[in-house]
């Protein structure tokens, strides 16, 4: 037994250090921390904002926790040797530091906030060599419809994009308030009926990322997710061809059937979409009962005009 102990003491730390990093990652699913493992410039910027803030805030956390524990231990009643000043209650110099410290930290963070808020404004186009692709997203009970007006196709529960190409996503809702987000790509924004919001995203690596509605919207909320596919230009073209080849047209009757509540909806491809459908869906909340009648989409409606009447800009 004596002989066994020595090797154990030597081997155990070696074993631990060899496998601990991987063990930690596997056990606590640290590689799933998607907020830090970003796949696009917006999300990367946000990660940096968070890490910067966290670092600055350590200048608050460490002294507070440190002083609390130190004083709590040191000035315990049992320790009668300590200085005891029951009437001491003011020190101008100390107060200057107590107010000045937080003020300095907040000034730093406030400057960063202004810069980052303007940089990360969801409405701000992303600079890129590639032309942005327009997407119109309509939140429904309980799935997302994505229209590609430039390609005259539409998809449910799947959002494909070429890598390194900005997306300009216009959003509205055919039902309650929803919130669109693909965590690995970045920002979230609300989708609201009768109104249009806008979000710019870009994927800088290829892959499949999950996207979801983040705003509670009823029974089917939990499964209201979609796959975001970041593809090479070639694969994206192939994907478009696949969608076009589905032969299923999203006419107004098909739209009216789709908009009925349904849960856990798998991807559906539509090879054509009526021009101006997105604006029309918004418009019907502004002038009607929010439902789309079976006749044709009025040709004089542009989404920009309709959005002027909504509240969000």
């Amino acid at each position: 037994m004596r002989r066994l102990r020595v090797p154990l003491i030597v081997v155990l730390p070696l074993l631990l250090s060899a496998c601990s990093a991987q063990w930690f990652i596997d056990t606590f699913y640290l590689n799933e921390l998607v907020t830090f493992f970003t796949a696009g410039p917006i999300a990367a910027y946000q990660r940096n904002v968070m890490l910067f803030t966290f670092t600055v805030m350590l200048f608050v956390l460490v002294p507070v926790v440190g002083f609390t524990l130190w004083f709590a231990w040191h000035y315990r009643a049992a320790n009668q040797k300590n200085t005891y000043t029951p009437n001491w209650h003011h020190s101008t110099l100390l107060e200057v530091f107590l107010w000045g410290g937080p003020v300095a930290i907040i000034i730093i963070l406030a400057l960063m906030t202004v810069v980052s808020t303007y940089d990360l404004d969801p409405y701000k186009p992303i600079e890129s060599e590639n032309e942005p692709i327009r997407v119109q997203a309509i939140a429904m009970d309980w799935k997302w419809l994505f229209i590609y007006p430039d390609y005259d196709v539409a998809v449910v529960s799947e959002l494909a994009m070429p890598v390194d190409t900005p997306l300009q996503i216009d959003l509205t809702s055919a039902s309650v308030m929803n919130a669109f987000m693909i965590p690995r790509l970045g920002s979230q924004i609300m989708a609201m009926s009768g109104m249009r919001t806008r979000l710019h995203l870009m994927a800088s690596e290829r892959g499949e990322f999950f996207g979801k509605n983040y705003q509670y919207s009823g029974d089917g909320f939990a499964n209201m997710r979609f796959q975001a596919l970041s593809l090479s230009q070639q694969d994206f073209d192939a994907w478009l061809a696949k969608v076009r080849g589905s032969g299923r047209a999203l006419d107004l009757d098909a739209y009216r059937a789709l908009v009925e509540p349904s849960k856990k909806v798998d991807p559906i491809y539509y090879s054509s979409v009526p021009d101006g459908l997105f604006g029309y869906v918004m418009h019907r909340f502004q002038v009607g009962d929010g439902k789309v009648p079976p006749d044709a989409v009025p040709s004089d409606l542009t989404a920009d005009d309709v959005a002027q009447h909504g509240h969000a800009h």
Partner: protein
């Protein structure tokens, strides 16, 4: 005849709800049977249902709070249980609708029927005593407030049995909470429960602003008020200013749902974003309404158990006022993602962060109060330390979420859920529990058990970390809040840990009830004879525990911030006048319970569209108030002889406990470097008698 109410309302699709109802109705029947068997109804009616005594009203508030702490916690535990056991892609034991009722109920109950009543209860108990008053300014209004809260709570309870509760989340976002998307009675129950409790809270706010400004003992200038009184003043002002926004938002939503207006609908020009603005225009100040009085409690606790004056009192007062003022300018941070321009988001982001400055100052002031103190580790001090260390993390994640750029990412995720629990549990709950232990002997005349209290503390503290650190992780992993199921298998690991945390918190809650039981059992042994069990510094410790109905036999004269400590040091404590005088006190009245019962039936009738009953209730309320106005004899007299007898008995107890020898000792108790008599600051010595 019965509007929309049919027998179908009693049908519940979910066996769990049926079981909960059996428990609830069974417990109700048992309580009624026991009260009848022991013939306690007369006692309850005389001493509790009709009382206008602020101390008893405070106790009723806290009883309501403890009942809803249990219900709110059970809801939370069921949510945690569902998410931990459902597994990726599974169905779980809860339906989506029931799950939504649970997270809505948890939030609603914990905010409106646990934290608020607990807080208002402690305010009721401590404020008049701290400022040397015999009651609040409007004792009858105070009784109306407490029973309105009870009526609102009863509406929440009855929704479990008849119909269902809201599924729209505790904030009831439109258009989801509109008639088109939530046609059932749930949202109406939610509206009227909040509306009635909101009116109750508004009345409380009015009452306490007036009480604190007008009823202070002579010599207690504003800058000599105890910190708890200051924070309650700020909270009461916040209540009076912010609650109307909620009342109006809910009233308009009720009109949308029952009359067919279009204030917040998605069609006919309704503005869904307007509701959200109005809700948070109340909702953000509400956070500070909840947390400021807890800050006040921590201030009292730190000074008392460190045996030291509060460091930076003036800073504390300004910081509290600054927080109260700023809290009205930050509501947009609840919806950065609604499409505003970056200018607006930046302004509200910075305003939010600026609140961190006065909050940080307060934290440092408590820490520097501990510096060179003699810290006694009684339970409230443990809660305070737990608060300081845990709250600072919540503040950190709060500053993170205040930055629009980061919030675009973390909004609506479990990171947000973790953040506000990380602020409200240490900030409010720990403060409330510290105050509960601190003032318990004052109300009941015996101390709470220390051992079970420590079990409760460790249960809450450890449970908190185990339950909410995983939610931070899950938020960073991208998990949204309010998910009845999910298809990412890696989330389950952390959800199971969070559920274990909930079990540990459950032990903390159990230990708290054990603490109450054990202390009651050993009440003779734990008796507080002197009225000053902690070596207190403020006026409430100058009178017997429990205090007589009139609180102060003689209205005290205040010469220092630490009014009672000054009395002890300068040998003025327990001074007796040459002659006692008759004391006029308000009479008990059944009006509050009549008004509350009518409000309950009004709310119930409105939920089910039983218009004749709703109309009768309104008429009945008006009639009851008019009838009361004809009553000229609303006061009774406690004769001087009775006051004298009470005081004789109190002084006999003080002698028995050897208090006077101890007080003589306190003269040397001060800092030796401070000249004798310097305890009273010369600058504030001149008394400007506040109206009493």
């Amino acid at each position: 005849m019965f509007g929309k109410l049919t027998l179908d309302a009693l049908y519940h699709y979910d066996p769990i709800i049926v079981f909960a109802n059996v428990i609830m109705v069974g417990a109700g029947v048992l309580v009624v049977a026991l009260l009848t068997y022991f013939r306690k109804w007369g006692y309850l009616y005389r001493e509790w249902f009709t009382t206008v005594d602020h101390k008893k009203i405070g106790v009723v508030y806290i009883v309501i709070a403890l009942i809803f702490l249990l219900r709110g916690f059970i809801d939370a535990a069921m949510v945690r249980g569902q998410q931990a056991t459902v597994g990726a892609g599974g169905e779980g034991y809860l339906s989506a609708a029931h799950f939504a009722e649970l997270f809505t109920g948890h939030g609603t109950m914990m905010i409106f029927f646990m934290a608020m009543p607990f807080l208002v209860g402690l305010m009721n108990i401590a404020i008049p005593l701290q400022i040397g008053a015999r009651d609040v300014s409007f004792p009858l209004l105070n009784a109306v407030s407490v029973w309105l809260t009870a009526a609102a709570g009863a509406l929440v309870m009855i929704s479990l049995l008849i119909g269902s509760f809201s599924e729209a989340g505790w904030s009831g976002y439109t258009p989801f909470s509109g008639l088109e998307h939530s046609p059932g009675p749930g949202v109406d129950y939610w509206i009227w429960a909040l509306q009635i409790s909101g009116i109750s809270t508004t009345l409380t706010g009015v009452n306490f602003v007036t009480t604190i400004l007008k009823k202070r003992a002579p010599g207690m200038t504003l800058m000599r008020m105890p910190m708890f009184t200051w924070t309650v003043l700020c909270t009461s002002i916040l209540i009076v200013v912010s609650f109307p926004a909620l009342t109006v938002a809910l009233a308009l939503l009720a009109l949308d749902r029952s009359v067919g207006t279009h204030f917040f609908t998605s069609i006919m020009g309704g503005d869904q974003m307007m509701y959200i603005n109005m809700f948070w225009l109340w909702g953000h100040p509400e956070v500070y309404i909840l947390v400021l009085p807890a800050f006040g409690i921590f201030s009292e606790v730190v000074t008392t158990y460190c045996n030291k004056r509060l460091f930076g009192y003036t800073s504390m007062v300004w910081a509290t006022m600054a927080i109260a003022f700023l809290s009205f300018g930050v509501w947009v941070h609840h919806f950065y993602t609604m499409g505003q321009d970056p200018l607006r988001n930046s302004i509200f982001g910075i305003a939010t962060m600026v609140i961190a400055i006065p909050t940080g100052v307060k934290i440092y002031d408590w820490i520097w109060t501990m510096f060179r103190g003699r810290i006694e580790y009684k339970l409230p001090m443990l809660w305070t330390l737990g608060f300081l260390i845990t709250f600072v993390m919540g503040g950190m994640s709060g500053v993170l979420l205040a930055i629009p750029g980061a919030d675009y990412k973390m909004h609506n995720s479990l990171f947000l859920v973790a953040h506000f629990h990380n602020v409200l549990i240490p900030g409010t709950m720990f403060g409330l529990l510290a105050g509960f232990y601190y003032w318990w002997p004052k109300v009941f005349g015996f101390r709470l058990d220390e051992k079970w209290g420590r079990h409760s503390f460790w249960g809450w503290l450890v449970g908190f970390y185990v339950a909410f650190v995983p939610l931070y992780m899950l938020g960073i992993m991208g998990m949204p809040r309010r998910m009845v199921t999910y298809d990412n298998p890696t989330w389950q690991f952390w959800l199971v840990i969070a559920a274990i945390g909930a079990i540990i918190v459950a032990y903390g809650i159990f230990a708290m009830f054990m603490q109450i039981y054990v202390s009651w059992r050993d009440r003779e042994k734990n008796a507080d004879l002197t009225g000053d069990p902690w070596g207190g510094r403020t006026l409430e410790w100058a009178i017997p525990s429990p205090p007589p109905e009139y609180n102060f036999a003689v209205v005290p004269e205040v010469r220092d911030r630490d009014a009672f400590m000054e009395m002890k040091v300068n040998n003025r404590a327990y001074e007796r006048p040459a002659k006692y005088e008759d004391i006029h006190m308000p009479k008990s009245t059944p009006l509050p319970i009549v008004v509350a019962a009518l409000s309950f039936f009004f709310g119930f009738a409105y939920v089910w569209h039983i218009w004749w009953l709703a109309g009768l209730c309104v008429l009945g309320t008006v009639a009851a108030v008019i009838a009361r106005s004809f009553n000229d004899e609303t006061e009774f007299v406690i004769p001087a002889s009775e006051v004298q007898a009470d005081e004789d008995a109190f002084h006999a107890r003080l002698k028995q406990a050897d208090v006077f020898t101890h007080i003589d000792g306190i003269q040397e108790f001060g800092d030796e470097r401070t000249p004798a008599g310097a305890f009273v600051e010369p600058t504030t010595r001149a008394t400007s008698g506040a109206p009493s």
